[in-house]
């Protein structure tokens, strides 16, 4: 198991695999066995469990899976007659019993038998199989009566009424069963009608309608299967027209409304603050911060594009402005939504990567947290394409490290945007005003960057140690 870390390629089922006939072929090979490293342990356990199982199977004495028991019925040979002879050709199905129409499908149940016993108490009036025949015919006649009346219900919902009238039943039954007296048929009819009305459904199972499709009671069985067209992907299946989906959409709508309000505020501030074409990035980032779940963002995608369209003309205006100030207009482009969405995870990753992370971040949030801008890979690429502004390498201070891609702050612009410079960090106690001289710059993505300041030591935090981020500052930045 020396190469556990190497994960083999997934197996291509179309690829021809060599069959190795002998284990010896492997033995010189130091990197051993096992198909998929990750799963191998699991599989091995499964295999072991399997082995055990099959083992038990081989030796039933050890431990077969116990099952309930059975016995031979002693009346079997009397109940079932030896009258079957198999034809030489394969047997073919005849029509179903219902189609043949001769077979008495109904079998007396307990209450029928009890009623009949009572009925026959004094003298034998009606044989059970004749009674069975009567009940069966009553059921069929009633069903036909309902068919004629056009009240056959496709599914079992409301009680199914009895439509068969005594005189009609009598006529039909007397024609079929001559030697049963009128009074007997009448008694049977009355018994059947009472039972039928109590059951509120046909007593012959074949005639009982199935439960409705939307009936969820698991005790009701054999409902018709709805012929709904199956959606092909899981995702499509998830989007059904039900209450949950409705709620989900409403949630998306609420989020979008919030996002819209935010965006409008941001546009106002952003245009004043930066005058750059990167405002759009801010929209996205802050939107992402508003949204808690990435999935919801995905689902909001369509509506978002609509919002983007709405703001597009504003951005075009900004691009015009940029073109005037010498930036290539291509820097600000609306990409196709999805892959440009950045969620907070991505941001965190982007930031922990040395080189992309700003070497210094403000120790106090300068403006409201939502406005703190976070660089993304996309911005980085844009910057490479962008012409480098004049004087970008100019060092403001000999102590200051070379910070690529930064530009000095323009105090006038800041003032125009309504941003005042932060107070000197050590205004409370003026012990060491010298090293804490305000140093700010515009970083990549248009961030305002200030050096960090250790409030206890009253010293700037070492540049060389710049990967260290005080947890508090970080939290304030990304919340």
């Amino acid at each position: 198991m020396s190469r556990l870390s190497i994960r083999p390629r997934p197996l291509d089922i179309h690829k021809k695999l060599p069959i190795v006939k002998s284990v010896k072929d492997f033995e010189d090979d130091d990197a051993p066995t096992s198909s998929s490293t990750r799963n191998s342990q699991f599989l091995r356990h499964a295999a072991i469990a399997d082995d055990n199982e099959s083992h038990h199977n081989l030796q039933p004495s050890s431990k077969p899976i116990p099952t309930p028991q059975f016995v031979v019925v002693d009346t079997y040979e009397r109940d079932y007659s030896r009258t079957f002879s198999q034809p030489t050709s394969y047997l073919r199905a005849r029509g179903a019993r219902a189609e043949l129409g001769e077979f008495i499908e109904y079998d007396l149940d307990n209450e029928d038998e009890d009623w009949l016993e009572e009925f026959n108490r004094d003298r034998k009036i009606l044989a059970p199989d004749r009674f069975e025949g009567l009940l069966f015919k009553l059921e069929v006649l009633d069903h036909k009566a309902r068919e004629r009346a056009g009240v056959i219900t496709p599914t079992l919902g409301l009680p199914i009424p009895v439509l068969l009238q005594l005189d009609f039943a009598m006529e039909a039954l007397q024609a079929q069963a001559q030697n049963i007296r009128y009074a007997v048929i009448q008694s049977a009819y009355n018994y059947w009608k009472e039972k039928r009305e109590r059951w509120q459904k046909p007593i012959l199972r074949r005639l009982q309608p199935p439960p409705p499709v939307n009936d969820t009671n698991p005790y009701n069985v054999f409902r018709p299967r709805e012929k709904a067209h199956r959606l092909h992907t899981r995702r499509m299946q998830r989007r059904e027209n039900n209450v949950q989906s409705f709620e989900k959409l409403r949630q998306v709508r609420r989020n979008l409304d919030q996002a819209k309000t935010l965006l409008e505020a941001l546009i106002k501030m952003g245009m004043e603050l930066m005058g750059h074409g990167r405002v759009e990035m801010k929209f996205r980032n802050s939107l992402v911060q508003r949204e808690e779940k990435k999935r919801e963002v995905m689902e909001a995608e369509v509506s978002l594009q609509r919002i983007q369209m709405k703001y597009k003309h504003e951005t075009e205006l900004m691009e015009d402005g940029l073109a005037l100030s010498g930036f290539p207009p291509s820097t600000c482009k609306f990409g196709s939504s999805e892959e440009e969405f950045v969620d907070s995870d991505d941001i965190a990753i982007a930031n922990s990567r040395p080189g992309t992370r700003p070497s210094a971040i403000p120790n106090q949030p300068l403006v409201e947290p939502n406005l703190v801008l976070v660089p993304t890979g996309h911005v980085k690429q844009e910057f490479r394409r962008r012409q480098v502004p004049q004087g970008w390498l100019h060092k403001m201070d000999p102590l200051e490290p070379v910070l690529l891609f930064t530009r000095p702050l323009v105090p006038e612009k800041l003032a125009a945007a309504g941003i005042s410079l932060p107070p000197e960090p050590s205004t409370k106690d003026e012990v060491s005003p010298q090293p804490c001289k305000f140093r700010g710059r515009i970083g990549r993505g248009g961030r305002l960057i200030f050096d960090r300041w250790n409030p206890l030591m009253h010293t700037p935090i070492d540049y060389g140690n710049s990967f260290y981020i005080p947890p508090k500052a970080r939290a304030a930045t990304y919340n």
């Binding site: 006939k21 499964a46 059975f70 016995v71 079957f84 047997l91 069975e132």
Partner: protein, 429 residues
């Protein structure tokens, strides 16, 4: 669930051995202490854990699922529906008080105490996984649907059935129509599968029943063995009867939808009394998920005779005739999974033993009609697919293959394809 009526039949005769605690009346009268103890725990609450004497004469841990008063006693005596925690639910049963060892009663095992035992160094997620997988045969269901399933089916309604020559103890709940709620034993007609509550009803039915075999076309015959194909649409009542019956022995079968979209392949042993069903499998007429089998059952009296393997092999022979690959619908039961693993192992390893040259999974799939995924899991479980020098190879050492083949068991009855006379459903028009 309405009222649960007590069974009229006496309890099965469990032959106890001498080392067991006293049974009623066989030894000295109860001591005062025992009486007191009884009074304090009886009647047992649902969820109580206690030891119970099983049919093997030994005591096994059980959990009380349900209880009901014994009507004949007229007193406050109860009987209990128990689940043997070591076994599958199919062995759950009603037991009398004297089968329980009251000294072992643990009322209301505190969930938290249990937690402490199992949760050591485990995340909640891991623990939940274990909880789920511990329930035998339910590995493919999530906990919630499992609980729902168990609540709905927790007590068997029908405890025994008579079917042809055999009286069989049932395994699971089956949703018979409400009119059958008040009985514990059903009498099935062996041929049309109608079920009745009284033996006399069955006997009267047998005098008139016009069937001696399943009401479909015979599509296979070899010796005394015949296979019938029954269309659920043409024989709705038969199909429904078969489902009611099969559910008594299948935990995760659903009777939710009607039978007209299914074909039933009923395997029979034939003699001069007729064709006696030994088992069956059902199959969707059109499966979008390429299932070639929905439910499969060998009736208990015919189990361990190779019929199950025959049914599985048969389902794949049908798929081959259709020119499709197929796979059984999930979840498989414990017994079902075992049979399928055995079948896949035998079929694939037989090919690998003989095959010369390279072979792809797809080719194996085309040859056997077994779905590629099933082939992969089978070979991977047996660790026959290995990664060597940058490529996958199939390890087919004859000794290794023979060992696996031996463990997979014998193939049971062979399907003689030349005796299968069958047109796939679609082409029947």
């Amino acid at each position: 669930m309405g009222s649960i009526e007590a069974p009229s039949a006496e309890n099965g005769s469990a032959s106890g051995n001498g080392a067991l605690p006293p049974e009623n009346g066989t030894t000295a009268p109860e001591t005062e202490a025992l009486k007191k103890r009884k009074a304090s725990v009886l009647p047992l609450e649902v969820n109580t854990r206690v030891m119970c004497r099983w049919r093997d004469g030994k005591y096994h841990p059980v959990k009380v699922i349900e209880r009901r008063k014994v009507p004949t006693a007229g007193s406050s005596e109860y009987e209990y529906y128990v689940h043997y925690t070591e076994f599958n639910r199919r062995l759950d049963e009603w037991v009398k008080l004297e089968q329980l060892d009251l000294d072992s009663v643990e009322t209301d095992v505190d969930e938290k105490v249990e937690d402490k035992v199992t949760s050591l160094k485990m995340t909640r997620h891991q623990k939940r996984k274990i909880d789920e997988t511990h329930v035998e045969g339910h590995e493919e269901l999530d906990a919630a649907s499992l609980r729902e399933h168990e609540e709905f089916t927790k007590v068997k309604n029908i405890s025994t059935i008579e079917l042809g020559r055999y009286e069989i103890e049932t395994w699971y709940f089956s949703p018979f129509p409400a009119e059958y709620n008040d009985c514990l034993k059903l009498y099935f007609c062996e041929f049309c599968l109608n079920f009745m509550k009284r033996k006399e009803q069955l006997q009267r039915h047998m005098r008139k029943c016009d069937l001696k075999h399943p009401p479909g076309d015979e599509i296979y015959r070899s010796g005394t063995l015949s296979m019938f194909e029954v269309d659920g649409k043409k024989n709705k009542v038969y199909g429904q009867n078969l489902c009611y019956l099969a559910k008594l022995f299948l935990d995760h079968k659903t009777l939710y939808y009607d039978v007209d979209l299914f074909l039933f392949y009923v395997l029979c042993e034939c003699d001069d009394r007729g064709c006696h069903m030994v088992g069956y499998f059902s199959k969707e007429k059109h499966s979008e998920e390429s299932y070639n089998l929905a439910c499969i059952l060998t009736l208990p009296p015919y189990q361990r005779k190779g019929y199950g393997k025959f049914l599985i092999a048969f389902s794949y022979e049908l798929s081959k005739k259709e020119g499709k690959v197929g796979t059984p619908e999930r979840p498989l039961s414990d017994l079902g999974l075992l049979s399928y693993r055995g079948y896949w192992t035998r079929v694939l390893l037989d090919i690998l033993k003989k095959h010369k040259g390279n072979i792809s999974i797809k080719e194996l799939s085309d040859m056997t009609a077994i779905k590629a995924e099933d082939i992969l899991t089978t070979l991977q479980t047996l660790e026959l697919i290995q990664y060597r020098k940058g490529q996958h190879v199939i390890c087919a050492d004859p000794k290794v293959l023979d060992r696996h083949l031996k463990q997979a068991g014998r193939g049971g009855l062979e399907v003689d394809v030349s005796k299968l006379i069958w047109t796939p459903y679609k082409e029947q028009g």
